[in-house]
Symmetry: C2
Subunit: 183 residues, 2 copies
């Protein structure tokens, strides 16, 4: 396909990776890793750099460090965002990356993509005030504003396709087994 669209996504490499990994499923097995340290109160720091994939150890260019804490209205020090807010960061980032990738694949030039994400949370669950209230979000809403060389219908199709292939959208809308143990 000839297109002048350039969203900065190397779609050719992704399409080639898809073809290669179809015949090499073991190389497609990634393990993402984080290590966290309790600081004080409900404040922790989490570090991310190394991961496994394509059959070998890999690393981000730099180590990233994230603070999580509770806000002052929870009688805490607010040294960082609340852990549950990190889920919104991941969701926004994943869907946005998908929109850029799908747009590139479809020859659509993006000018801007913005999203607002909201997660409703009844904190009676985590406080143990009501056993019928769940601990996590009740629901999450994402609203995209996309400026692109495309019709409203094409933009809606972009967003829908991004959702269909999003790792984080799947992780939040479907259950995952999480095993927690003490060393």
């Amino acid at each position: 396909m000839t297109t002048t669209a350039d969203n900065g996504v190397n779609v050719q490499a992704l399409l080639e990776a898809r073809d290669v990994l179809k015949g090499a499923p073991e190389a497609a097995q990634f393990t993402w890793r984080a290590t966290s340290t309790w600081e004080a109160g409900v404040h922790s720091t989490t570090r991310i750099q190394n991961f496994f994939g394509l059959g070998q150890e890999q690393a981000h260019k730099t180590e990233a460090v994230f603070d999580a804490d509770h806000p002052e209205v929870f009688a805490a020090a607010d040294n960082g965002i609340t852990p549950i807010e990190y889920l919104l960061v991941g969701l926004a980032g994943c869907l946005t990356a998908g929109i850029a990738s799908v747009a590139q694949n479809r020859g659509i030039q993006l000018r801007s993509v913005r999203a607002t994400v909201e997660g409703d949370h009844d904190i009676r669950g985590i406080l143990g005030a009501d056993p019928d209230v769940r601990n996590g979000f009740n629901d999450i809403r994402v609203t995209f504003t996309v400026d692109a060389d495309a019709s409203k219908e094409d933009i809606e199709a972009l967003v829908a396709q991004s959702q269909k292939r999003s790792a984080v959208f799947d992780a939040l809308t479907n259950p995952t087994n999480v095993a927690v143990e003490v060393a």
Copy 2:
């Protein structure tokens, strides 16, 4: 209870909040918010500061900004961690905050809490290489190393109780409705 344990968690305030919110469920309705902007390629930045709760607008002390991108092995610029890795940050932070809170409530002095988190991810899903492979994590493992004035059994009970009340553990192990729309 008389205890000299001080993990920096104001458990008294949390217990009072639980009692108050039992009779004021509308005040327990929080909405966490994020806004994200596409930068280039699959790189986005997400900002978090304001949220709603206790019946009014609230704010973190400072705005936090997070970069999400894909690593170089995905033919991207690696300007930040991968969106799905943010879920591991949230999980580690939430379970660690819970351990500190429950330990405080039980009069257990913590000396150190560390966690390693690993999420297995078959990337054939997001690449569209195999329709039977899910997009998200296949499974997640969290391993805590806790140094505290407590027996192995008491530490295991702390970790189990943290898991039971964790917002992020619930959000990952149970489905949440996520509505995505175009403005």
